[in-house]
Amino acid sequence: MTELFDPTQWAAIRLSLWVSCVATIFALPVATWVAYLLARKSFPGRQLLNGLVHLPLVLPPVVTGYLLLVLMGRQGWIGGPLYDVFGITLAFRWTGAALAAAIMAFPLMVRAIRLAIEAVDPGLEDAARTLGASRTRVFGTITLPMILPGLLAGAILGFAKALGEFGATITFVAAIPGQTQTIPSAIYGLLQVPGEEPAVVGLVVVSIIFAMGALLLSEWFARRMAKRVAG
């Protein structure tokens, strides 16, 4: 295996895993919160929030990447103050790759978690409150355990999406080997060079293994959830 990939390609694999993990871990609580709002609360702007969450799913990824550059770049509306006040740079860094991946994965995570929350009978939450449980305790002891399989399924789906993210990432952070080059951008880069087919095939196989593994895990959790909801 070692001779199959050169160090920059190994770096791309490691970076892809790292970026996807970070993106998933940070997006999951936010996605859970948004999914809960969309599933359980009615408030003005609910449809707008729903649309906004789904936007990355329907926009061309390059457009999302461009918008990120405009908003989060060092001169961007958000990126500017972020750099001036905290010294945080996102554009052309691995952190930016994680942000792009998180945003692209977000709608998929919200959809999966929202389905799980909608499958929980709100009557159970009412029952828990009549027994003296605060809203936080109700969420932690009733809602969360019951949506856990859905939550994990959403996380895995999001992780897989983050692994495969290309358009928004390459637009926002480019593909700097060892810094922002992920598996997809490494494959794209290798395809521009003659004679690199073995490395391309190797990276493709790695991608397929990750994606299939994630998909199977997600299916497994989805089945468990169906069983749990059926009682």
């Binding site: 009549t130 027994l131 003296g132 449980a133 605060s134």
Partner: protein, 353 residues
Amino acid sequence: MLDIAIKTKLGDFPLSVVFQAPKGLTAVFGRSGVGKTSLINAVAGLVTPDEGRIAVDDRVLFDSATKTNTPTQKRRAGYVFQDARLFPHMTVIQNLRYGGTHDETRVIDMLGLDALLDRRPATLSGGERQRTALARALMSDPQILLMDEPLAALDAPRKAEIMPYIERLRDEVKIPIIYVTHDVSEVARLATTLVVLDAGKVVLNGPVEQVLSDPAAVPLVGVRDAGAVIMTKVAGRMLDDNLTELAFSGGRLVLPGQFGALGQRVRVRIPAQDVIISREKPEGLSALNILRVTVSGIEQGQGPGVAVGLTAGNERILARITRRSARLLGLEVGQEVYAILKATAVGPQDVGG
């Protein structure tokens, strides 16, 4: 004591309810959709009424005048839902302890749950689920217990199985129980106080014997279900004939089956449909129960029937006869007549502790 006076909207029609529920079991009776569930949801804080006041003893749970609205989790209102609502991912004992462990041993014993503690809700029968839900509510140490048609989803044998538990609860627990139902037999067996709702208002309210024996209750309860409840004591047994004799201030009743110990208090529902009125003491009749009674009220219904209130000793019973019979008998208030009841007209579902 629960003190409730609320106004709210229920879909298109207004709900305006005022009553007090003392210790014991207060049945809130009415047809589906009259707002019974909204009423106890308001007590539990699951819905907020437009205006009014709800208090348990001197603790105000809701008062629109002072903008008091205690959140559900601080109301200490135990709630037994029609569909039990046990937490499916927890065992029975985990469910029971969710709201606290108040009086755990006694509650588990009282509801006969010892053998079920490690089971999952999905493996329980309907009756076992309701007993678990009831125990779970009690162990949270509530100040008031709300029950929303807890037996409606059960078949007759399951109902019969769980009724004695609720009777025991009513007699042993020292908090008011609000019991929503649209089933008269549950009211007759379980209630100490009865509140009848119709068209969003309280139309009858009082001790159950008094309300059910009021001829005005007949159209509200339904002509086929109407019937007074009387309190009696087991006075004897007729083992050879498999009958039980009951005594009360108005005489004696003989009913089929063996139930209760000698001297035990037994409440009996006497279906108004099955009471026959005679001006003279009948002879040569198969019916076992002939009581000397006084006509205390006659209520014209909308149909061909009338409801006749009868006094037997200190108890009141109801008879439903046709308007034509009432006219032919020349019935009037104060008249002394005989009430005749076939023993077999009273089934086991009409007899309670």
